[in-house]
């Protein structure tokens, strides 16, 4: 790792001041992606502002039609939380499928979203559940937040504080893991908001998470699920675009069997 200055603020307010110290300063929470990137010298922050321990970022609570989860909440906490399980079961199912136990003990919701890995799990839930991403500056709708490969609409130094998930009637997440890394070769999150209203978000197959609107329309009309066009999908040594497209449909069909219909 290149040298850097480590800072440990005791509040969000202090963290917001520290991030202004240098344009190359970065927040660190769990560090599950940032630290490996720094070890490979792919990232070279001047300062690391450690927000991983701030209690202000750790809430899990219900607010009217929303389940609100603090950005610093660990994957393990989401996987085990009884309020998450009872209000958005799919979110707890998703969290237990991230990485491995050691990663789930450190990695955070906010970190996963800010990184926006095209094979990450949380973006699928955020998009399917019409979530709002609340930062220190504004509230961002999920549909505006994700902007393709490792890209979000966050400004430099903007801090995600919490995510407000709109509670669905029911939800589930199904994932095909890349055997070595545990990342999604394909992952499908389904959230149901009305008798014929389903949101379907897909991760792992393209340049970033997306809503599969053709499948949503088919489900609303009780028609057969269409084939996902594979022309624009990710192709790598792990899987072809055609295979990813096929498995996405298989995963959606499996997800629907896990919902009460």
């Amino acid at each position: 790792m290149y040298p850097f200055h480590y800072l440990r603020p005791t509040s969000i307010l202090e963290a917001k001041q520290q991030i202004l110290l240098d344009s190359e300063a970065k927040f660190i929470a769990g560090g599950m992606t940032l630290l490996p990137a720094m070890k490979h010298r792919l990232a070279n922050p001047s300062h690391l502002i450690d927000i991983g321990h701030l209690p202000e970022l750790g809430c899990v609570e219900k607010r009217e039609a929303y389940l609100v989860i603090g950005a610093g909440t660990k994957h393990m906490t989401v996987a085990r939380d009884t309020l998450v399980k009872s209000s958005i079961a799919g979110l707890a199912e998703l969290a237990i499928l991230i990485g491995d136990p050691q990663v789930r003990a450190r990695g955070t919701l906010g970190g996963s979203l800010a990184n926006n890995d095209p094979s990450a799990d949380y973006p699928a839930a955020v998009l399917a559940l019409n979530a709002n991403i609340v930062t220190d500056q504004r509230t961002i709708a999920a549909k505006d937040f994700f902007q393709g490969l490792y890209t979000t609409c966050l400004n430099d130094g903007e801090l995600i504080q919490e995510v407000q998930f709109k509670i669905p009637l029911q939800s589930t997440y199904v994932k095909l893991k890349q055997a070595a890394s545990g990342y999604a070769l394909a992952g499908v999150f389904v959230a149901q908001y009305g008798p014929n209203e389903f949101n379907v978000a897909v991760t792992g197959v393209g340049n970033g998470v997306f809503r599969w609107t053709d499948a949503e329309n088919a489900l609303s009309k009780n028609k057969a699920i269409p084939v996902l066009n594979h022309d624009q999908l990710m192709e790598d040594i792990h899987a072809s675009g055609k295979y990813r497209a096929h498995m996405t449909k298989v995963l959606l069909e499996k997800a629907l069997t896990q919902l009460t219909r």
Binding site: R8, G31, M32, D100, P101, V103, A105, A180
Partner: protein, 152 residues
């Protein structure tokens, strides 16, 4: 910074970019915690921090300040821990390099699932790689440890 390792408070000086595993091995000479891949894949560096297993190669020492850390050395206070005994008896290792991490993860897994199924064992050890055994004896060792710890 202050950090509690195996019940003893340590007051140590570290660089901002020092990893926890390097504090354990190089400064405190607790070399039971291994560095396998150094890329958070293999789990050989697994320790417990405040009651959860973590990979000590992927956390800065300063991130762990004020935390309670247990390493493999901290398990064997009064004779071997039942999980260590079980790995020995069931031959849940060959070269032994991954074993400290496997044992730390097994201790956590048996806290969560005192009587685990094969699937729960595989999920609980998903962050630990062994390149020798093929895992059969490791799973047998976990089950044997579960029985020991339930007094059967």
């Amino acid at each position: 910074m202050k950090i509690t390792i195996n019940g003893t408070v340590q007051d140590i000086a570290v660089n901002d970019n020092t990893l926890l595993v390097d504090v354990l091995r190089d400064q405190l000479h607790l070399t039971g915690t291994h560095v396998g891949c150094d890329t958070s894949q293999c789990g050989c560096c697994t320790v417990q921090m405040n009651g959860s297993t973590i990979k000590s190669c992927t956390i800065l020492a300063l991130q762990a300040q004020d935390a309670q850390i247990t390493t493999i050395e901290g398990l064997a206070n009064q004779g071997l821990h039942p999980v260590q005994e079980a790995f020995s008896q069931e031959h849940g290792l060959q070269c032994g390099f991954c074993t400290p991490g496997m044992i730390m993860s097994t201790v956590q897994l048996l806290k969560d699932f005192p009587n685990p199924t094969d699937d729960q064992i595989m999920a609980g050890l998903a962050g630990n790689l062994c390149r020798c055994t093929g895992y059969v004896n490791i799973i047998a060792a976990v089950k044997s440890a579960a029985k020991k710890m339930q007094g059967q």
